[in-house]
């Protein structure tokens, strides 16, 4: 780690790394990139829809952020600022007429699908329910899908969601609740009722 650790051996926090990077320390910036490359890439992927575009957007976003560091407000949180830049790069790479299925998130399984080995019914049901829910999210309009993805799949804070979605922090909540409302409608249309989430949890509350 070298310069990316303080003398006490504790990892440097974002602000310390940002300060060093502003002074031209590329290694400090590299540490920031490592810290946030997953988040940046996934956010870009959610917006751009293709891995190649997401990689391109995230890389370009990090490079632009480096050159913009002098304009970064001291003391401000780095994550939302970075996400705003990356998300914008991703939006610029989004292709019009993109199909929903470009975004190929997958529900993790313990065993590959098609495996003949029997799995507990509950586990199979849970995976199936998740797939149905993911499919329903995929059927939403882009704006709804993105706000839900940012909240639940990327676990962004409200400020970060606002940055990634390019909207005002004050509107994030209402956008999310509208998106959830529409998701519920899609789920109802899809059949299987409103999700039967309680079954996922192993019983009625």
């Amino acid at each position: 780690m070298g310069e990316t650790e303080s003398v006490e051996g504790r990892p440097l926090d974002d602000q310390e790394l940002v300060e060093q990077a502003r002074g031209g320390d590329a290694r400090a910036y590299e540490a920031l990139v490592r810290r946030y490359q997953d988040l940046a890439f996934r956010t870009a992927y959610v917006i751009a829809g293709r891995t190649a575009d997401a990689e391109d957007a995230a890389q370009e976003g990090f490079v632009k952020a480096w050159y913009a560091l002098s304009r970064f407000r001291t003391g401000a949180p780095f994550r939302p600022w970075l996400l705003a830049i990356v998300a914008n790069e991703a939006r610029n790479r989004r292709r019009t007429g993109r199909r929903q299925d470009d975004l190929a998130l997958r529900v993790a399984e313990d065993r590959p699908s098609g495996d003949a080995a029997p799995s507990p019914e509950a586990a199979a049901l849970a995976i199936e329910q998740r797939r149905l829910l993911l499919a329903a999210v995929g059927r939403l309009g882009e704006a709804d899908r993105q706000v839900i993805t940012c909240r639940y799949f990327l676990e962004l804070s409200e400020a970060e969601m606002a940055s990634a979605l390019g909207c005002r922090p004050g509107t994030v909540k209402s956008r999310l609740s509208r998106a959830l409302e529409r998701l519920r409608v899609v789920l109802a249309e899809q059949g299987g009722g409103p999700l039967r989430a309680s079954k996922l949890r192993g019983g009625e509350r």
Binding site: R22, F41, V63, R93, R130, L195, L200
Partner: protein
Amino acid sequence: MSQRELGDLDWALSDLGASLEFPPTPDLAAAVTARLGEAPATAPADRRPRGWLAGVLRLPGWRRLALAGMVAAVLAAAVLVASPGTREAVARRLGLRGVEVRIGEPPPPTATTRPSNRLDLGLGEQVTLEEARRRVAFPVLVPRVGALQRPSAVFVNQAVPEGGRVDLVYRAQPGLPASRFTDVGLLITQFRGQPTPEFIKKVTGMGLVEEVTVAGEPGYWFSGEPHFFTYRDAGGTFREEQTRLAGNTLIWQRGELTLRLEGEISKPEALRIAESMR
């Protein structure tokens, strides 16, 4: 939706999120670091506006363009301005008539925003396209791309700027995602640009400004963080238009007209629409 259903959905989505697989993240750190050597991020005090602009504006053909003496695209010298809360802001007047572009930190947002779900952005009087053509002293251009030949709404403002302006508003539709603040998918403004005073002022923070050519005439493509537009009102003062925090914007010249196209669309798409305007 009941609290119970909401709670279930909330829980199920969190559960789904925890079990989702994203494509593997490529090693960005190496690729990014390799690109940082090109120009170190110098401290603000060390920056010269020209160097900073060159980096931000990405203008390989900038100097050539200026030397070529294309009247509409000649750039005035960079002026370093200081404003409260802005460590570094550089104003540059782009050569499009009636447009000033200021690169710097955007102003703090005001408390008031217009309600969304409207096509009326306070642009002026809503009229038919034919009526708008009668009211202004210039030929009103319309895109010839598919459904865009028929704007969802047309607004005319005869007072500002001199000679009037016309705004074509398009409701969000497939291929034209809604703006982040309104139901508008695309907004096209046109007016007869005067060299001074500027009608549009544009402030862009992180955003990029790129020079483009639209049907052989100069233009600029703005992308990046929301751009803050201010317009000169009838009294001559600049008024900020919070409603029009733009996603991406193309401003270009067509003869004596200055046009601006704004929407959450890509550069090629914007250029295609702009080129089609007759």
